[in-house]
């Protein structure tokens, strides 16, 4: 419990920053919706002038962009990108931070098992993600209610928004796995930015080319907000993939971390 609380305190500032930024971003984007909705015909006309591949790449659906949930689904892809970076950074730094800050010797010579350390840190990370998502959801729902002309489709809003948590879990588990393999990660942000953007580019390619196989390679395609707002359901195969990958990566991290040598400073 002491390690868990210590970790929470350590991530307090960054959690607040991330939550406020995500909430602020969605509020900014959604506050533009009324203006857009008023002149939706002109807007769609302009968009229609773009090559189809560009519209696809950026997940713009001409049929639904004028609807509240349609516009929200489009904007949400950027939120997901930011959320992915937060989660990947979190996963990468959880265990590697102790080596980087040279506190590993302090922590690991205490009467505590490696499993207990991973569990405590993982619980803290999960708490951080839950807080971020709760903050985001609240802000997102409030702004949608505010700008929506009709009643907001709560189910769709929730179905789309909660996928940020799922994608974040994937990135956090991935970051954790990478961090236990690496001997030392000097700087977390370049690694997490690089990885998440790489997946985002695969995502764009996959959308633009309609390549079904590419979709499996990037978590950003697992819960496609456009599809969700049109079909009101998740794709089973990707739900299963997520449900398999996250526990597997976490389990592997436990196993590897238990065998890992903690090197001197």
């Amino acid at each position: 419990m002491n390690v868990f609380l210590r970790e929470l305190r350590m991530y307090r500032a960054s959690t607040i920053t991330w939550t406020v930024s995500l909430a602020g971003t969605i509020m900014l984007f959604m506050s533009m919706y009324p203006a857009l909705a008023r002149e939706i015909d002109d807007f769609v006309q302009i968009l229609a002038g773009f090559p189809e591949v560009v519209l696809k790449a950026f997940s713009i659906s001409l049929d639904t962009i004028g609807l509240l949930t349609g516009y929200y689904a489009y904007v949400f892809t950027f939120i997901m990108l930011a959320g992915g970076i937060q989660a990947m950074s979190l996963g990468l730094s959880l265990l590697s931070k102790e080596s980087r800050d040279k506190t590993a010797d302090f922590l690991m010579t205490k009467p505590i098992t490696r499993n207990e350390i991973v569990t405590a840190k993982l619980s803290a990370a999960l708490t951080v993600l839950l807080i971020t998502n709760a903050g985001y959801l609240t802000a997102g729902y409030a702004i949608c209610r505010l700008v929506g002309t009709s009643d907001v489709n709560l189910k769709l809003f929730f179905m789309i928004s909660i996928t940020m948590l799922f994608v974040q879990l994937i990135f956090m588990a991935l970051g954790l796995l990478v961090s236990v393999f690496a001997r030392k990660i000097k700087n977390v942000l370049p690694v997490s930015l690089g990885t998440v953007f790489a997946f985002y580019i695969i995502n764009i390619l996959s959308s633009a080319t309609d390549d079904a196989k590419l979709r499996y390679l990037t978590p950003f395609q697992y819960f496609d907000p456009n599809r969700i707002q049109m079909t009101a359901q998740y794709e089973t195969v990707f739900v299963v993939l997520t449900a398999l990958f996250v526990p597997a990566a976490i389990l592997a991290s436990y196993i590897i971390y238990n065998k890992k040598d903690i090197h001197a400073l």
Binding site: M108, K110, T113
Partner: protein, 294 residues
């Protein structure tokens, strides 16, 4: 009873040598020195004992229990002070010590106060703002606050002024009197000589010797220094037992181990203006070990 038993411990980092076939035991209640040049494998041995790294082969037991399998349980009774101390950013000294104490199932607040007072450490300051020596003090308190039965120190005195060193040694001796066993790794021979009952000497990853300090000191080594009216032929000194012979003008000095009469008889044939004979200090004996193996 042996508090530490190291049994043929070997550690390779990939292909790089850490330690090879290290075996020695530390008895309950003793202050055991672990000495060797930089890179000899002192820290590798200690880190294995603490379960920070895993041995390639061999094993080590602390309190009779395997230090890997029963690591967390064993560490309940171990206090560790690393050679370099870095602690979480933005924490105050008191916060860190309370965090450290929270890992042990007992109330350590009184002990923290005591130790901080002895070492003259301000608990309200931020660790980031502390000098190297003061950070070291935080490390000492952190290592001793739960009154461990085994204290492991890895080159602990760097950064402490002589007065603080003395206080620190007094603390260690006090803990030792209360029953704590101490394993002190160092390359500073005088502090080992002052504190320890026995030492293990490690070089290039292997234990060269495990010996009582008192035995080392009285291992019949004598340091001779003679001034002659005229320097005799260097061959005169090639008696069994003469080592480290240096000749500087009319002065010859050497270490001798064996029957002193042989040297006296040899010297009696020469014309001497002055002579010194003394026990060598530990430094000389250790240098001797290091060099012989090189």
């Amino acid at each position: 009873m042996n508090v530490i038993e190291i049994d043929h411990l070997t550690k390779y980092y990939g292909k790089t040598r850490g330690i090879i076939d290290v075996s020695f035991s530390v008895e309950g209640g003793e202050i055991f020195g672990f000495i060797g040049p930089n890179g000899a494998g002192k820290s590798t041995t200690i880190r294995t004992l603490l379960g920070l790294i895993y041995p390639t082969s061999g094993s080590a037991k602390i309190f009779g229990k395997d230090c890997i399998a029963h690591g967390p349980e064993i560490r309940r009774q171990i206090g560790y002070l690393p050679s370099e101390v870095f602690y979480y950013d933005g924490m105050k000294v008191g916060d860190l010590l309370r965090y450290s104490a929270s890992f042990y199932r007992k109330d350590c607040s009184k002990r923290i106060q005591e130790l901080a007072e002895v070492l003259d450490l301000d608990l309200t300051r931020k660790i980031d703002d502390l000098s190297y020596g003061n950070k070291k003090k935080v490390g000492i308190v952190q290592g001793l606050l739960h009154e461990p039965k085994l204290i492991i120190l890895d080159e602990p005195t760097g950064g402490l002024d002589p007065l603080m060193q003395q206080k620190f040694f007094d603390l260690l001796l006090e803990e030792n009197k209360k029953g704590a066993t101490v394993l002190l790794s160092s390359h500073i021979l005088s502090e080992v000589q002052r504190l320890c009952d026995r030492v293990a000497i490690i070089k290039d990853g292997r234990i060269v010797k495990v010996e009582k300090i008192s035995t080392l000191k009285e291992s019949n080594y004598k340091r001779f220094k003679c001034e002659f009216t005229a320097m005799p032929d260097a061959n005169m000194f090639s008696i069994d037992g003469v080592e480290n012979l240096t000749i500087d003008g009319n002065v010859a000095s050497f270490l001798f181990r064996g029957d002193v009469n042989k040297v006296v008889r040899m010297l009696a044939t020469l014309d001497i203006t002055d002579i010194w004979a003394a026990d060598p200090d530990l430094e000389e004996i250790f240098m001797h070990y290091y060099e012989k193996e090189a």
